[in-house]
Assembly symmetry: C2
Homo-oligomer: 347 residues x 2
């Protein structure tokens, strides 16, 4: 059993140990305790020792609310992501945490669930909690408003998606280019009627991928048929429903490009259910890798994003802002890579 500080054993709700009590037991003033704990100002070794001992004995933990009320600064970064159940985002969090914790910051996540109201609520929480900085994958390029943060001078870096409603740093891949490349890959495989399952068009990601698909068709000299584009939420169900719609077409597509990983899962499900095989009946390409093994077994060709790296770089950028370093708006575009696998290869 650990040595229980002060002998006050479990259960009881003890009052919080304050800096004054520490000061009293150490026989110094609160200011000295604070200096020992926070600053590099010189405190005599003797006092320092006594303070540290008191802190240990009493199990003192500074009240971070009081501290940041005073200093107007915290050591917590917020990450507001569009969907916690999407592996793409959680993988990114790894990169965020590694950089943040190396710099002494904690990371808390919030799930906006692609819902503008929830997103707004969490932006307000971040503001109210005076978080040091926020990483955000906005639910909408135009409707999301980061005013609450801007008003308080809390820096924001958007990840995966851009914001048209405000000028902020961002880190993402070139969705347009990647989608165009994927589309051309399908063309190369002989596809002539390529269906596209679009995600939330209100996001730059959703819109960019659609535009890339169209650019691909144009570059290949293929017509852009309206009925071949179906959009839905970035969810499994969205992908399934869209696929069903496309399969119901009198003239079925011979290729299918899906806007994100969750939608791809839905698409695969719908294809299976309908007995449509890939790549034989339809060549399939997705955006984003899934959980390792899913792509492994079903071998789905996909645009793979450097998720960890997005999180890492976004956080480094954010921390530079947090530290007050002034520099012009920074936009980082990372490379996405088309990983060609079985699902799109037609002999």
């Amino acid at each position: 059993m650990d040595n229980v500080p002060g002998g006050e054993e479990g259960g009881g709700i003890m009052a919080q140990v304050t800096i004054r009590e520490v000061a009293r037991t150490a026989g110094v003033s609160p200011a000295t305790v604070s200096r020992v704990l926070n600053t590099s100002e010189t405190v005599s070794p003797d006092l320092k020792e006594r303070v540290l001992a008191a802190v240990r004995d009493l199990g003192y933990r500074p009240n971070s609310q009081a501290r940041s009320l005073r200093t107007r600064a915290t050591t917590v970064l917020g990450v507001i992501i569009s969907d916690v159940t999407n592996p793409f985002f959680t993988a990114m969090v790894r990169g965020v945490e590694d950089v943040a914790s190396a710099a002494g910051y904690s990371v808390v996540l919030a799930n906006a669930d692609e819902d503008l109201r929830k997103e707004q609520r969490y932006l307000e929480v971040a503001a109210a909690e005076q978080m040091a900085g926020v990483l955000l994958s906005p639910a909408s390029a135009t409707e999301t408003s980061i005013d609450v943060l801007a008003e308080r001078g809390i820096p924001v870096v958007t990840i995966d998606r851009r914001l048209k409603s405000a000028d902020v740093d961002w880190v993402m891949v070139d969705n347009h280019r990647a989608a165009k490349e994927a589309t051309l890959h399908l063309v190369e495989q002989g596809c002539r009627r390529i269906g596209f399952i679009a995600g939330r068009l209100g996001t730059t990601t959703g819109a960019g991928r659609l535009a890339g698909y169209r650019a691909g068709l144009r570059a290949a000299g293929l017509p852009s048929a309206r009925e071949l584009v179906v959009s839905g939420e970035f969810r499994i169900d969205g992908g399934r429903e869209a696929t069903e719609r496309l399969l119901a077409l009198p003239d079925r597509p011979d290729g299918l490009f899906v806007s994100n990983n969750l939608m791809t899962i839905g698409a695969v499900d719908a294809l299976d259910t309908a007995g449509v095989r890939f790549p034989d009946d339809i060549a399939l390409v997705g955006f984003d890798d899934m959980m390792p093994a899913l792509s492994l077994r079903s071998q789905i060709t996909a645009v793979s994003q450097p998720t960890y790296e997005i999180g890492r770089q976004a956080t480094e950028l954010l921390l530079r802002r947090v530290s007050g370093e002034p520099f012009p708006e920074r936009h980082i575009t990372l490379n996405a890579e088309l990983k060609v696998r079985e699902s799109s290869i037609r002999a």
Copy 2:
């Protein structure tokens, strides 16, 4: 463009609007503003009106640090989970959020990553931020310490796993029973050498499932061979490595039971790589469903947990504690269901 409050347009870092400014513009005292905003005390309609108008015009947002420094209460729940990249946990978060937000609470997540130090750090963050309550899936049944929260009277409910180091409410499934059932299912399918891939044995979940597996063997009158049990981290790699070890055995197992979803992915990968087919060469059962489509395509028999329900009930319990309601320690055991699919069926 939205009406910009006070005409102070974007960009500039405005100082925070305080309750005093609101009071001043409304021509009342700060106390009155506070009353209008927080209490049900009667304030004359006229003043109330003026206050609300001022709040709106100034875009006033209460500083939650100051408030909770004063009231010692927040409206934020913390969820400290063992691994954000595990769909099991993120699915649970859905249930948490639904209940919490219906009750007016926000939810922030932290990723302990099965690491005791990180976990401790986040417990401290939760304490320092005076969170109203915490849901925790402890990294260890014995080494995890929630003292920092207990000291401050912050209630904790553990999810998925129990804590032996403290008496707290918990919500989980009966791992022992579910694992025993799954093992017996494999026996029924004719398996006689059933390999078991164990997770972190330091967690009640990891240990409970192992015990259930052994109980199953015992009930079936099968010997419990030491070499058939391999343990690892609750990760994809852990599952892969453990499977490789089992496949290297001179007398290969004819059945395989894997302790969680991520490990199952690794196991499937290892089996594929080794060219071992299931259910033909080895009958496979996992714990936890994966992302819908993965199980769909690979049709893996698995113990399915009511993730949403675990999150929901745990949060309801937590909120009752938060409200100060006194009741004896509460333990909720939900039902897990063995979903028999192709991977374990031997004709």
